[in-house]
Amino acid sequence: MIKVEIIRDPVKLFTINDDRKEDGAELVFNGRVRNMERGKEIIALEYEQYEGMAELELKEIAQRTCKKFPIKDLFCRHRIGIINVGEISLHVVIWSKHRREGLEAMNWFISELKKHVPIWKWAIMIDNTRVPSECKH
């Protein structure tokens, strides 16, 4: 199953429990806002999306990930708006039979997301100015 959400509130982690009997590997990725941007201290990032298209693209990439790798379940929450340093901007959970395909799928999903999903960042500096982020990952 695929779950994809673009949200404005702080990310709540997806519930994980012991109910899965066929997946030996459960992988959780949390992308968090770092306190430095191009060598300068920041207090937050502001994420801007192309409303509608961002979620469509994210869903399509999730579907492609589940076709390319032998996985059935991928859950993803991407937060937008102002996200303080330390907080989660991206939360992904992937379940797979073995760890290897889970790790590869996670890496691929996030790279594709970073290439295609129409979301952009502004850095909010310690003096509260707002400058375009140029993070090249």
Partner: protein
């Protein structure tokens, strides 16, 4: 003539100083024609910026013909994650 709605994000928004604009074009115009117009309006500020085109929220080829009342976006390098 037809009218398309251009959505502006990030560097495009910054270069044009607008989040959205309505552009009138000749029938049969392609996305690439509109991109030229947008780059001219940006007065050089988008010269170093690679743009991809989306029509009605889907990435398309630059050769795609526009239709009346299409929603068009020129997408600068994205930064999600």
């Amino acid at each position: 003539m037809m009218k398309v709605n251009v959505k502006c994000f990030s560097q495009v928004q910054y270069a044009l100083g607008q989040t959205e604009l309505l552009v009138e074009l000749e029938n049969g115009s392609k996305a690439s024609d509109l991109e030229k117009l947008i780059r001219i309006r940006a007065k050089g500020k988008l010269d170093d910026v690679s743009l991809r085109v989306a029509i009605n929220k889907n990435y398309v080829n630059e050769d795609t013909e526009l239709k009346d009342s299409d929603e068009v976006a020129f997408i600068p390098p994205v930064q999600g994650g």
